[in-house]
């Protein structure tokens, strides 16, 4: 089931070094690239059907097409390497095992959109990874792939790595821009969209690492070759991170559209310890959970996930075995999003903390059925009332656990328990 498009050089020793990477094909798309007009590159990427691999799945070529023409302002590219959605760890493999695919992709994108200054926003926790990435960038400068004349052409391109410092919300594209601008990572209201007013007030494209790293293959081999993988609307391949209760967790490159359970069984070795499946989180912690019955019919593509009222997300699949306490899992989940709320909008800032306390009250054996109903109601009251979707990333999955595993929550609730008197934290 596995394919090697993006991951072609992952298993080659020292492929993070430019000489090794070049031996195995890195930077070979550039001759073809510079023979193409920028608009042709955009058309090729549109034709490939590549969709943003950060989680939202927006068509990459179409996104580039939103840039206004001839504004007289510089155009920026911000590469989103913040990957901090729990269960997501795919971009890390690119950064460490094939950073030159990313750099080559950056050159392709920047040529297409007319950008000369690219920032790679990498999450602060990627300490050793940032060193490998920076070394690769330095090598690319040394080899003339970056700098005043990219690959000998009359095209300047500078790439700067900007380190995050522990804030999930910076994976949200406008928070990421704020962070590069030296502010707290608090998402901006849209409109204006970043393509019009982005980094430093200039037109800006923000793309995920995997999206960018997919470009060399598309340019070198053509859109049709890329479309040969995947489904009609979910084209190409994807780096899937499989974690949780499976025998062989890890990162696997697969074409889109495969049946979820087959992948879990054949690629990841099935549920560990011979246990039964209880649920699957299909695309990072923010995606609604699937029951085993739902998991049996879903395929790994955007359309099937939507049909199952969940999302493809970042391709971070988490397997939950029969021992998982869904209430505790939800507590872990809300704690994460609460911790990561930027604190800007009232509903998210105040509401997630309230939700967390209600779950903890249930876990402490002090909750009631009314608390479960309140928790469920708060999901509706908070969701989509905020600048960004961080709160929805919490409420959407929580709602799914409450609906699909309500009996577990009720088991924690006291029957007819009376509300506790109000008190303040010590």
């Amino acid at each position: 089931m596995e394919v090697k498009i993006l991951s072609a050089r992952f298993d080659i020793d020292n492929a993070h070094r430019i000489d090794v990477a070049r031996t195995h094909g890195a930077y070979r798309a550039l001759d073809k690239l510079f023979a193409m007009a920028p608009a042709e590159v955009i058309e090729e990427v549109k034709a490939s059907g590549l969709r943003g691999r950060g989680g939202a799945g927006f068509p990459t070529g179409m996104k580039w097409g939103f840039l206004p023409k001839d504004t007289g302002k510089p155009v920026y590219l911000a590469v989103n390497s913040d990957e901090s959605e729990p269960a997501t760890f795919k971009d890390r493999y690119i950064l460490v095992r094939d950073p030159h695919a990313l750099i080559e992709g950056i050159i392709i994108c920047c040529w297409a959109i007319g950008c000369h200054d690219c920032y790679i926003y990498i999450r602060g926790e990627y300490t050793s990874q940032v060193k490998i990435l920076q070394a690769a960038i330095d090598e690319a400068y040394g080899a003339g792939y970056l700098g005043a004349r990219v690959a000998g052409r009359d095209f300047r391109l500078d790439v700067t790595v900007h380190r995050g410092a522990g804030a999930y919300v910076c994976g949200e594209e406008t928070a990421l821009l704020e962070s590069i601008e030296g502010k707290k990572g608090q998402p901006r209201s849209k409109p204006p969209f970043p393509a019009v007013v982005g980094l430093f007030g200039c037109p800006t494209i923000i793309n995920n690492v995997q999206s960018i790293a997919s470009l060399p293959y598309i340019i070198a081999n053509g859109a049709a070759a890329y479309r040969a993988y995947g489904t009609e609307k979910s084209c190409g391949t994807h780096l899937f991170g499989i974690s949780g209760h499976v025998e062989r967790p890890g990162m696997y490159e697969l074409p889109l559209g495969l049946p979820l359970l087959e992948v879990l069984e054949n690629v990841a070795g099935g549920v560990w310890k011979g246990r039964k499946l209880k649920g699957v989180i299909p695309g990072g912690s923010s995606t609604p959970v699937l029951t085993p019955a739902e998991a049996a019919t879903v395929t790994l593509d955007y359309e099937s996930m939507a049909a199952h009222k969940t999302m493809f997300g970042s391709g971070g699949i988490v397997v939950l075995d029969e021992t998982v306490d869904m209430v505790r899992l939800v507590e872990n989940l809300i704690a994460f999003y609460h911790h990561e709320s930027c604190g800007q909008c009232t509903p998210c800032r105040e509401g997630l903390g309230w939700m967390l306390k209600i779950v903890r009250k249930l876990l402490a054996g002090e909750g009631t059925v009314a608390d479960i109903d309140l928790l469920r109601e708060l999901c509706d009251n908070i969701e989509m009332k905020t600048v960004c979707v961080l709160s929805a990333a919490c409420t959407m999955p929580v709602r799914s656990y409450l609906e699909k595993f309500r009996d577990e929550f009720e088991a924690y609730a006291l029957d007819g328990g009376s509300p506790q008197p109000e008190q303040r934290e010590g």
């Binding site: 209201s189 609460h338 105040e350 908070i382």
Partner: protein, 520 residues
Amino acid sequence: MAETVKLFVNGREVEVEAGKNLIDALRVVGIEIPHFCYHPALGADGNCRMCLVGIEDGRPPLVPACKTPAQPGMKVLLDDQKIRKIQRDIMELELINHPVDCPVCDQAGECRLQDYYMEYDLQDSRMRVPQVTKGKRMDFGCGVVHDQERCVLCARCVRFTRQITKTGELGIVNRSDQARVTIFPGRPLNNRYALNIVDICPVGAMTSRDFRFKQRVWFLQKDEGICHGCSTGCAIYIDHHREKNGDDVIYRYRARTNMQVNGYFICDAGRLSYKRENENRQDLTLVDGVVVDFEQGIAAALEKMNKARRPLLLVSPDATLEQMWAIKRIATFYGATLSGYSDAYRIDDDGDDFLISDDKAANRYSLELLEIDRDRESFQAALAHADLLVNFDNDLFFSPINESLQRLLGEQDRISVCSHQLPVFSGSSVILPCASPSEYGGSIINRHGVLQRFRRAVRRNADPRDILEITHLLGGAISSAERAWPGIRQSVPVLRSVEPEQIPVEGLLLNNSEERDVGP
């Protein structure tokens, strides 16, 4: 009104100014959209989410009104069930970690949380888990006290220090529900406009040390006034209250919006100048150091003025246009020399490029319009020559500049018409108490030539008389501010067609007055 657009609110067509956001545009036609974080001086931030409104057929269907410009044909949903529910939900979330301490909160009575609770929420608390605890009674400097638990994190205060004063003392640290407004340790508020933060805070998180616990706001009578702290003439509210069996006391000034004069803010010195109205007042009439009836004081003054051979009348640069005119008229009547010398009211390099002026006189502009002499040399000569000085509340010793004049005072008999007990008035043979600005009405013209009218706000028990009334008792023909105007109009070309009753609230920019700083 500038260019307009027609749009629909709950199906009703309204015409509003183009280019404004929905909050501002609809307010003009009487439609209020609730909000905490938006402030016209600070722009839209969009964090409170209280102003979310529906846009029928819109994408997205739900938008913050503060960030949404009024557009032609737009169908705004405000009062439908869905929007009412959102407003109620947002209010619930605003309040879950908010202490229920309205009974001891100074904001009570003018608090948006309270108002919106009554308007949009009205539900019992469903909060049955411990609240988040944060800092209380934090001294932020400049008399600003902060309560982090009452704060709704609208960031108005932070934006004020970054955008308006550009001093940046405040920030919001942490994230999630631990976010809180604070100062960097050891770097408290340090700007001359800091108390505006108390005005713009929509809740009780920012209170004024000066006002805290002094008076419940619902007891305060809120009258419009003009600050007399300097020549900018900022629009203010005079908040005052008469206790049962007590005196009418001013508790605070607040900024009143006047886009032609001060915008939305006032300086701290001006704000705190209300104290001057309450303190150190001259309430007694004295003749040769003996307390007498006011009428006896007037009689004594009249006698002296009639007898004087070389009387000198001194007018204050704080006096209203009408008062100045009345004094000018009695100067003519008595054949007196008239001076408006007031160099002491200038404090060089004290002003800034925002609101604070070097000139601490409220109405120097009128002295010039009425051609009242302001020259030091001629005043000094007249003083040396005079056998009677009648000083109408001019504090020659406001700044130390006139030390050398001190010896000249006392060489002549002196009558002082004064609102405050000040060194400059001591040694006068007759002291007639007069009203301070909050106790009379009239017109003043600020340094930029904006003519503003104000009305009497305060009626103190001592009931000091308006200077204008005193000039009438001293034989002048002008008995009221209105009666001063025919003469003023006739003698001052730029005021020829001014009808005082028709001066707009924002004042009248005198048309042939060029931008200038009027010299003393």
